[in-house]
Symmetry: C2
Subunit: 333 residues, 2 copies
Amino acid sequence: MNELRLPIADDMHIHLRNDERTEHAVRAVRAGGTGRVLAMPNTVPAVSNGAEAENYRRRLQDQGADFEILTTIKLTGRTTVEDISDAAANGVVAVKQYPMGVTTNSDDGVTDVRPLFPIYEAIQDKDLILSLHGEVPGVFVMDAETAFLDSLHDICRNFPKLRIILEHTTTAAAVDLVKELGDHVAATITDHHLAITLDDVVGSKIQPHHFCMPVAKRPGDRDALNAVVKSGHPRFFSGTDSAPHKVEDKETACGCAGIFNSPFHMQFLAHHFEESGMLDRLEDFTSRFGADFYRLRRNTEEIHLVREPCTVPERYGPMVPFRSGQTLNWSLR
Amino acid sequence: MNELRLPIADDMHIHLRNDERTEHAVRAVRAGGTGRVLAMPNTVPAVSNGAEAENYRRRLQDQGADFEILTTIKLTGRTTVEDISDAAANGVVAVKQYPMGVTTNSDDGVTDVRPLFPIYEAIQDKDLILSLHGEVPGVFVMDAETAFLDSLHDICRNFPKLRIILEHTTTAAAVDLVKELGDHVAATITDHHLAITLDDVVGSKIQPHHFCMPVAKRPGDRDALNAVVKSGHPRFFSGTDSAPHKVEDKETACGCAGIFNSPFHMQFLAHHFEESGMLDRLEDFTSRFGADFYRLRRNTEEIHLVREPCTVPERYGPMVPFRSGQTLNWSLR
């Protein structure tokens, strides 16, 4: 196969920030073959209610966003039931929960899920989606996602109609649990977690542009992510977790978590899916399963991928994109 | 206790390199309370025979080394039995084996120990020490040391009189095996592996100045290292693995492995041992057990540590020292 025509991609988890990086992050979306995004709310200041979500959407449009923006609000200890109703009334589609201190801009995050049950109830009532960064603060980095799975189970048991997404899933254990939990629970998988392991972060060299939270895990975990995608499981779909950190915030003594993969998102995935013998699953992963779980119309606009070498540049604005300097086998025409 | 008088420390594993970093690395030795070092041979070019070892020692002295230098040669696929005899004749005390490609300047390293048995025989005959970087190339970074333990066992079974040191030990499994293997097998432990885990390398932030090979492991592994030191086990002693990488080679897209801990070595260890309730074990760890295993006279020159705050500077020459910016409770007078 030398060309692929697919519906433009959904990115069900992206960071566009709200500062000087935003113009580049916005420009990267269509460059990478994406036409609809779920914009994460951990900006500074955070997006915490419906009005702020609507303002954030407008600011992104002012920055040149020529794609559809689905909005989220950040769930903190201060979130009220009214915030949820108000968010729903403002078209917000998901409420994002962060573990305290684990990742970028998460100091107001959550340490325990039980006190949030009234909020979950409201999210369920409004038929919004609960979007989870599933790691437990203070747990050893290789175990922090697995340690969260009990909480995920607990939430599911108590809110059987609540639609939940375990975001940027990294472990075989999480894949198994999401499969087991049934139709109201899904998972997003990033581009980079399909490709890298901890060896690519702290193998014989340290590579900050491969560092994100949750950190890439073991080869067997990466294999499990690829296997579930290859199986065509409809509750595992694409969310890049693309995060535009400036090079000086990555290549430093204490660097930020996040990988900027959106500018070559579909080029990379076509390359990776072909290499992994699952090119026939690409459209489901990027353009169908996510839309279906979110109960959105599927995208109809088409993108055109061709088998022509595409070298990822060393820089994209002030950022280093994922796979910089490497050549992918597919280009976006 | 407000002051400590100890014999000057032995550092049974240090990298002094052979370039513009050397003057700073040399200056750091006495600054950190060390008076005798085992200088690692993975310089560029490598130290591979007795004459090169002697030349390297002289170059270090020319660079201002005012401490005792014990020399090593690098074991590669090209090392001959004659190289071992020649090394012994030139006063070399240890032969250092690296796994291929796992760490700094190890591209000529070893992938399999069996072909080296004739060399081990010669090392045993000459009563030199076999010094092992115990990781298996190509194995996942968190498992690479444990994967080497079978080889360690194999070498010990076949060369019952060969004195072996498993360098910069990082795992509970390695500690257990070294204890079990008996009197001819020892281990060095670095300053940093007593203090950090993988969380300090790729927890919520990425910290290249905490990155070394073998990478810091789990909390339980760190606990096992501290426990064996606290127990006063005589076959576990200090080797800093201090490695002077320039800041631009650490804070970059693909950074070097190695932590520069020697300039505040004894200040840090006094602080850490006191915090860990094992200050009474410090002298054994830094000044007795290593000398005894190497069959060297014990150091008699004294150093004087006092309980006065000591802030580690942000830079030491072109390097960032371990614990830079932090204040230790002990100073060297």
